[in-house]
Every structure is written in structure tokens, then in C-alpha cells.
Amino acid sequence: MFKAKLKADVLKEIIEVTGHIVDEIVMDLDSEGLTIKAVDPSHVAMVDLMLTKNAFQEFEADDVSIAVEMDKMREVIKLAKAGDVISMEHDSERNRLIVTVGNIIRKMGLLSPSSITSPKVPDLELPANVILKTDEIKQGIKAAESISDHVTLIMEPESFSMEADGDTDEVKLKLTKDQLIEISCKERQRSMFPLDYFSNMVKAATNSSSLKILLGTDFPVRLEFTIAGGNGEVVYLLAPRIED
């Protein structure tokens, strides 16, 4: 059983956070809230999203998994105006999600959750982390996008930097300790990542004012931020590029 009401903005956040990773998602529901775990087809990027029931206006659920196509969710969100509340109810007999937006009722055919593999989130110990303002790194990505397709993240005891090397141009963003909200780094850590994935992740984090980045040399990077006004958390993992 699943029955809930939520603000259109919250649903929009869910779509923004997961939609660039996969075309289909499985929502795992229980009495406490909603989780979504998904890995992209190349196994390079992963999202682990959790919303508590407080993120919803109303929420009721038993243990159930619902698999939806992102395109259909996008169609629904386009029907909503700012401030609208969207209601959802799972019709388990016909395997449909009944979504109400304003005066419109959309009965959405669902996929079989077993047709989508649920990824196991790798257990990583990442030695360094920073918390920074999302806007700062967003600017850096904007500068990098025109010149390269990959980006290098570097953490040092006193700073965080991001570098992009193109054929002829270079971009560097450096934030020193006093420009960061928090930093914890004993030794220098450095890894390279595909820029398109990293960029989509940071863009999806812009609803949160701060972003935590966890890094280890030649390990996946982990991004953490909150959504739904603090009633939800998102974790992204992104695998590195390792040059010989």
C-alpha cells in the first residue's frame, strides 16, 4: 500500500536528482518514507536518495516497491503549477500509480520492479572531505565545461581545488580553508572524473545551499546534500578516470 501527497516542488527535486542517472527508477517505500537507489547503465554513477515521511504533506505506506519511467514523471510535473500539491496512490491490482494534479487524474502504468536491478552501494572509506557552498563549485563547472570533458578534484589540508585541462586551455577553481564551510584532510587526495556526470550531479544539488564532497585518490567521489527542505538526503557516487 502506498498513498501520499507531496508538493510539486519536492517531486520535481526527486526527478532532477535521479533523472540524469537513469530512465527508470524503483521507489522503495515503507512506513518511514521513500528511498531510491539507481546506477547508470555504464555503472559509472550512482544515486541513493532518501526522503522521510516529513517531506510529504500526507504519507502512508507498507513495504512496497514501485517502478516508474522518468519520462512519465516529467509529463506529470509539467502539468503542475508552483505550489500545487500532487497526490499519488498505488493501485497494486492493476499495477498503476494514480497521480492527481489539480483536476487532472493520470493513471500511470508501472514497470515490474524486478525488471530493474537494484544496485548495491559500494562501501568506501574516503579519507578527506569538504563542505562548500554549492554555488561556488557550480561556477567552477561552468568555467570547465567549455574546455574539457573531465575534471580533477584535489583536496589538501588547507584547500580544495578543481582543475580542468583542455587541449589548449586550463581552468582552475581554488577555495582556501576560510572560503570553505568545513574541511577535513590530512594528506593530499586527487582524482579525475568525467565532467558531464559530475556537472549533472552538482546541478542537481543547487536546491541545497551546501554540498559535502568526500574524496580519496583514485577512488570514487561521494557527494552528499539535502533536499525537500532538509527532509531528505541524497548521496551520489561517481567512479574515477585513472590514466596510466
Binding site: 555504464s42 554513477a45 550512482m46 544496485p119 568525467p194 570514487p220 557516487l237 567512479a239
Partner: protein, 404 residues
């Protein structure tokens, strides 16, 4: 004079500033001329139609036909049958296929007059159509046309009158889809393909404005419609194979035709595609070894593959057909080398048909990417081909989350 821009232009963009391509003209000068001294042609259209691009949206449109009623006229416009032929034989065959017709606005396809309707009927046919054309003037001393994307074809003669002199045989599904004026052109093309209508006929239907929603129907210049068809059908297969598992190992398919040497690598990863081609010094268009590439990721590309152009889509389709048959997806790298043996461009069908043949041959299988790459390098004419591949560099450097 061949210059470095020639391989980018391939005689289609006037990059050198000249009104016609000097290279193509020099080849055309060596090709056979067939004069039509009388104004009347009676011949079997294979069936075949041509839509020009000059003057768009008012373009030359009409049936193509040889100046006689010939048995086996069908082969005049069946690229699949030309695989393995000598280049001069393809040109010789096609030189006898004259373009006829007149200038018509592309929008007329939404509401065709009698003349256009009879031209459209030729595109709908699946057997040769005996056709009588009265030309405004004889066709004398004119060379056939050559281009990198379209098959060679005879010169154009403006028609005063065109008459189909026999009943035209139209496949039932073609008739059904062409009459459906609510169906989008993409959906119509895919439906026909699923119903075993050949991509070559679908291209003719698209070109003659026989697909799509009634008011939106337009004729599409032949050279654009060739790539549009390869792209539409390819995309439909891509969305299908994304539901399948990946191939099991690294396999390399090889083969060649008319100086076009192919190595096609399938990698056990989700769908993505890269094509690279090396024009070796001395090959048509190439003043020096030139490597071109284009690629797309899992989600496809939004812009046109402007380096390789039509060949990118022509190679992608038969690889996809093969994957669909295997019910597998893969990351695909197509590497083409063009030598001086390819002395005249014959059109992108050369790529489509060669790749189709190559994918039929048994591949060499490897358990690592490196072994597959080494195998290709051992056979390639250009040993540093790998340096240009962004896809292979990506595969070699990008880790997955499950490596940790």
C-alpha cells in the same frame, strides 16, 4: 589539386570556392557518356526516383529510368546487389539511369497534383515500372553525376510528359502507410521497416513526401533522405536493444570492399558508438593521411555527425541490425580505412552494404579489450589509429563503481 579541405568537403560543400568539384569532374571525364538523341525515352524504372536539393524548396523531382526496357531493371537501383563489384561496373551500370521530371515545390507533397502523384507511384512500387517520358530536349554529351553520399546516376533531362505504361505493383503495407495521413513520418518509416520493407524503399517514400501527417508532408532531397532514413531506423533499434544484456566478450569483425577496409569492435558495455575513418594519402579527397571521428554516448547525440556525415549513420544501421538479431547491446567502434583503390566515390551505400557483409562474417573473439585492440593494430594501415579514439580512451581510463 587535392587540398586538406577536400576530405572535409567531399565535393558537397564548395569549400574551395569553385562552382563544381574539380576532383569529381576529373573522374566524371573518364566515365561513359550515353546520349539520348531522340526526345522520347521508353524504359523500365527500377523503380527509382530522384529529388534534388538545388533551388530548395523548389527542386528537381521525377522518376529515374534507363533508355530501354531492360530485363532485371531492378538491379539498377539495388545497392545490396552491387557489393563486390568493380567500381567502374557500378558507375557504368548507374550511368544509364537517367533522371527525368521537373521542378516542383517540396510542399506540394501535402496535396500532390497529377504529375507528382504519378512520380510518387513509382516510389511506392516494389517492381520495375515501364515508363514513357517525352523530354523537352535530347540529352547529349552530358556526364553522369558522382557524389560521396549518393550512388552515381545519369544526367537530368526535363520532362514535358511522363506516363507510366503499366499497372504499378505496390506492397500492401506501403499503400496502407502512405495513405495514413495521421501517422508521423518517423512512426511510418519504423512501421514499414518492422514489416520488412527495405530501408532503400523507405528512403524513396520519405524522399517523395509519402510519409508523415498530411499537411506536414514534404519532399526531401534524396541525399538528405538517405541519412534521415539510416538515422530514424537506427534510433528505433537503439531503443530496442537497450532492453537487452550486453555482448559476452570483445569481438572484432573485419572485411573490405572497393578499397574500404573495416574493423568493427564490439565491447561488452552499454550501447554507445564511435566511428573513425582514415583517408590514406592518395585515396580520393586525401592530400595526406586524415583521420575523422564522430561518436555518441548511451543517450545519443543531438547534433549531426558533421565530421563523418552520412557514413556515420550508414555504418551504424547494419551494426544495430546485427545486435538486434543477437538480442544484445554493446559499445561499438567502427574503424574504416580508405585506400587509393577507392578511386571514385560511389555513395554511402558502400559503407552500409560493406558493414552489413562484415557483420555476417565470424568475428575474432578476445577476453580483454587490449587483445582486441592489438589485433586491430596489427592489421591496420595506420598504426596510431587508436590515438584518435575518444571512446577507447574512455574505456581504458574510466572505472566503474563495481571495480571498488
Amino acid at each position: 589539386m587535392v587540398s586538406p579541405i577536400c576530405v572535409i568537403c567531399k565535393g558537397s560543400k564548395h569549400l574551395c570556392g569553385e562552382p563544381t568539384c574539380e576532383l569529381l569532374d576529373s573522374i566524371r571525364a573518364r566515365t561513359p557518356k550515353i546520349d539520348i538523341t531522340s526526345r522520347e525515352i521508353i524504359g523500365s524504372s527500377p523503380p527509382s526516383v530522384f529529388v534534388g536539393r538545388y533551388g530548395y524548396p523548389k527542386v528537381k523531382v521525377g522518376p529515374m529510368l534507363p533508355p530501354t526496357i531492360v530485363p532485371l531493371a531492378g538491379r539498377l537501383d539495388s545497392p545490396a546487389q552491387w557489393y563486390g563489384w568493380e567500381i567502374e561496373d557500378v558507375i557504368g551500370l548507374r550511368a544509364s539511369l537517367f533522371r527525368t521530371g521537373g521542378e516542383i515545390r517540396v510542399q506540394e507533397a501535402s496535396n500532390p497534383g497529377r504529375v507528382l502523384e504519378s512520380y510518387q507511384l513509382v516510389a511506392m512500387a516494389d517492381r520495375p515500372v515501364d515508363t514513357e517520358v517525352l523530354l523537352k530536349k535530347p540529352i547529349v554529351s552530358r556526364q553522369p553525376e558522382l557524389s560521396f553520399d549518393m550512388a552515381p546516376m545519369g544526367p537530368f533531362g526535363e520532362a514535358e510528359r511522363t506516363k507510366l505504361t503499366e499497372n504499378v505493383h505496390v506492397p500492401r503495407r506501403v499503400d496502407y502507410i502512405a495513405s495514413d495521413t495521421d501517422l508521423k513520418s518517423v512512426d511510418g518509416a519504423v512501421d514499414l521497416y518492422d514489416n520488412r520493407i527495405s530501408p532503400y524503399q523507405i528512403q524513396k517514400l520519405l524522399s517523395m513526401g509519402l510519409l508523415g501527417q498530411g499537411k506536414k508532408r514534404r519532399m526531401v532531397p534524396t541525399r538528405w533522405s538517405i541519412t534521415a532514413t539510416d538515422d530514424i531506423l537506427g534510433k528505433a533499434i537503439i531503443s530496442e536493444i537497450k532492453g537487452y544484456g550486453t555482448v559476452d566478450d570483445y569481438s572484432v569483425y573485419t572485411g573490405d570492399f572497393a578499397g574500404n577496409y573495416f574493423h568493427i569492435l564490439l565491447v561488452p558495455r552499454p550501447w554507445s558508438y564511435e566511428m573513425m575513418e582514415t583517408w590514406l594519402k592518395g585515396a580520393f579527397w586525401a592530400s595526406e593521411n586524415t583521420i575523422l571521428r564522430d561518436s555518441e554516448g548511451y543517450r545519443g547525440r543531438k547534433d549531426y555527425a558533421s565530421n563523418i556525415t552520412g557514413g556515420y549513420y550508414a555504418a551504424r544501421l547494419p551494426v544495430l541490425e546485427h545486435l538486434k538479431e543477437m538480442r544484445r547491446q554493446a559499445t561499438v567502434m567502427v574503424y574504416r580505412e580508405i585506400t587509393e583503390e577507392y578511386w571514385a566515390p560511389l555513395g554511402v551505400w558502400v559503407i552500409r552494404e560493406t558493414v552489413r557483409e562484415v557483420m555476417k562474417s565470424p568475428p575474432k573473439r578476445f577476453d580483454t579489450l587490449q587483445k582486441a585492440i592489438d589485433f586491430i593494430t596489427s592489421r591496420a594501415r595506420v598504426k596510431n589509429w587508436l590515438n584518435s579514439s575518444e571512446l577507447l580512451r574512455e574505456l581504458a581510463t574510466q572505472r566503474t563503481l563495481f571495480d571498488f
